[in-house]
């Protein structure tokens, strides 16, 4: 925004009511990062459940990638090793999908993680009632508050999901190496691992945003008086 526009604003300002209040995206990003940094330990704990859930997802997916890689290598020895270590592979099958049981456990862990995020974010909103009320008194719109909370959750989600996905993948590869030896690692394709990591990261970010949606709406819709009335 240039200076002339500000002057125009000021000269129009007296006497009647206008509609412009803004919060530039970079500024909201700055505020979000600052809030996370100040409450770093707390953010870390909130993010931890996400890290664990995402790393589990990533672990399972990369594990399947390894098995698929071993099958695709076409070596009957590797195939026999897989079957011996519990994979249910029919004689004609060329790929391994995740079993129904595995999928259920992953989905359950992700659900638990979302509930945990909702809980943690609701607490965070309650803790910050006064801050939100003050911002609204200073002229913040509902969507500024919404944006701040979503950005915060987005950053936390991205960091947590990335960390979780990488940790899961690394542990899965170590696991494969211990069970099947180096042959397993040489057979697996890097692309499929990257794909699994990317999917796990995406799911993690999505869950983090999903979990913050309701708490952020609660925060954004709050009237400034209510926010101020709460004793802290």
């Amino acid at each position: 925004m240039n200076e002339k526009a500000i002057l125009d604003d000021i000269s129009n300002g007296s006497g009647h009511i206008q509609r412009q209040v803004r919060l530039p995206f970079l500024k909201s990003l700055e505020i979000s990062v600052k809030s996370i940094r100040v409450r770093f330990f707390r953010s870390l704990i909130t993010t931890m459940s996400l890290v664990l859930a995402v790393s589990f997802l990533s672990f399972v997916n990369v594990g399947n990638d390894v098995a698929n890689g071993m099958l695709a290598a076409g070596d009957p020895d590797l195939r026999a090793t897989l079957i011996r270590s519990g994979y249910d592979i029919g004689p004609a099958e060329t790929s391994v999908g995740s079993s129904a049981k595995q999928r259920w456990i992953v989905i359950l862990s992700l659900l638990v993680c979302v509930v945990g995020i909702v809980n943690a974010q609701l607490m965070a909103v309650t803790e910050r009632f006064r801050e939100i009320g003050t911002m609204k008194c200073l002229g913040a719109l509902d969507r500024f508050v919404l944006r701040l909370f979503i950005l915060e959750a987005g950053i936390q989600g991205l960091a947590g999901a990335c960390a979780g996905a990488l940790i899961g993948a690394v542990f899965s590869l170590i696991n494969a190496w211990l069970r099947f030896g180096t042959a397993a690692l040489s057979a697996v394709s890097l692309m499929s691992i990257l794909e699994s990591v990317a999917i796990a990261t995406g799911v993690g970010v999505f869950l983090s945003l999903l979990g913050v949606l309701y708490p952020a709406l609660v925060a954004a819709r709050m009237q400034p008086v209510e926010a101020m009335r709460i004793e802290q």
Binding site: E3, Q20, V21, E131, T134, K136, C137, G139, L141, V225
Partner: protein
């Protein structure tokens, strides 16, 4: 240098006398009913009030008299059950969310008993936040923020976080923040309530000076009698009604009675 404040004061007075008739706030027939369980509690029972531009108003009354409720109505923080509140002759019940936010951002500066400095930001960032909302670019906002902090005597503490500041300093940051967008009105809800005697007096003196130098209308809800000495007008609220309105001249006569009354 010693003449400068006097000059500014004289100018401010000139402006005042020119616009003396202008009403910045008009409250007509405002009632407010709260629902507490099944009981309706009438906090305000019909308030009529006119506040002219540039005055320093104190709203006085015991706790539970409804002064904070009235204060919230004037500040556009709460809507009356019936009656109207006009700010600059605009009925604030008619404003949508955007216009209300603009009003809070540009027209009104708020000061609270509990300071309400945003904890995660430094003093300077607190002061510049309303200017960012108002669309000012960052450099201009920082410049003005520093000026305002110097004005309240905290120029060297701009990078401090709220927990590194004393109560009086926090309240001064809040005053600087309230002035950020050159508001027409400053609303102060018990600004001295959490401060000790001397810091409270300093804050009152600062508010008075600002109201004189800048022609800002200061409206403060309070039960601090130190406020009386600087007020142009005192509005006594009792039991949800305006008990009486006293001008400064009447006040200095009856000041002994005020002391003896409570």
């Amino acid at each position: 240098m010693p003449f400068a404040p006097c000059l500014m004061k004289c100018e401010a007075l000139k402006v005042l006398s020119m616009e003396e008739k202008a009403n910045i706030v008009r409250v007509t027939g405002v009632t407010k009913t709260f629902k507490l369980g099944k009981i309706n509690v009438e906090a305000l029972k019909g308030i009529d009030l006119v506040i002219s531009k540039g005055n320093y108003i104190s709203i006085m009354g015991p706790s539970g008299s409804g002064k904070s409720t009235l204060f919230n109505m004037i500040g556009g923080l709460d809507k009356p059950t019936s009656g109207k509140v006009y700010i600059d002759e605009v009925d604030i019940a008619q404003l949508d969310a955007y216009e209300l936010a603009w009003l809070r951002c540009r027209k009104i500066g708020y000061i609270f008993q509990t300071f309400n400095i945003i904890q995660v930001m430094t003093a300077l960032e607190n002061v510049t936040l309303p200017m960012v909302f108002a669309g000012m670019n960052n450099d201009a906002a920082v410049d003005k923020g520093m000026q305002l902090l110097e004005l309240v005597g905290l120029g060297d503490r701009y990078s401090h976080k709220p927990f590194e500041l004393s109560g009086g300093q926090q309240q001064r940051v809040a005053i600087a923040r309230a002035l950020a967008n050159d508001p027409a009105i400053i609303l102060a809800d018990e600004p001295t309530g959490n401060l000790d005697l001397t810091t409270g007096e300093e804050c009152i003196a600062l508010l008075k000076r600002l109201s004189q130098e800048r022609g800002v209308t200061v409206i403060s809800a309070t039960h601090d009698f130190k406020m009386l000495n600087v007020s142009d007008q005192v509005v006594w609220i009792r039991d949800g009604r305006v008990d009486k309105i006293e001008d400064r001249e009447e006040l200095s006569i009856s000041i002994g009675q005020i002391g003896s009354r409570e």
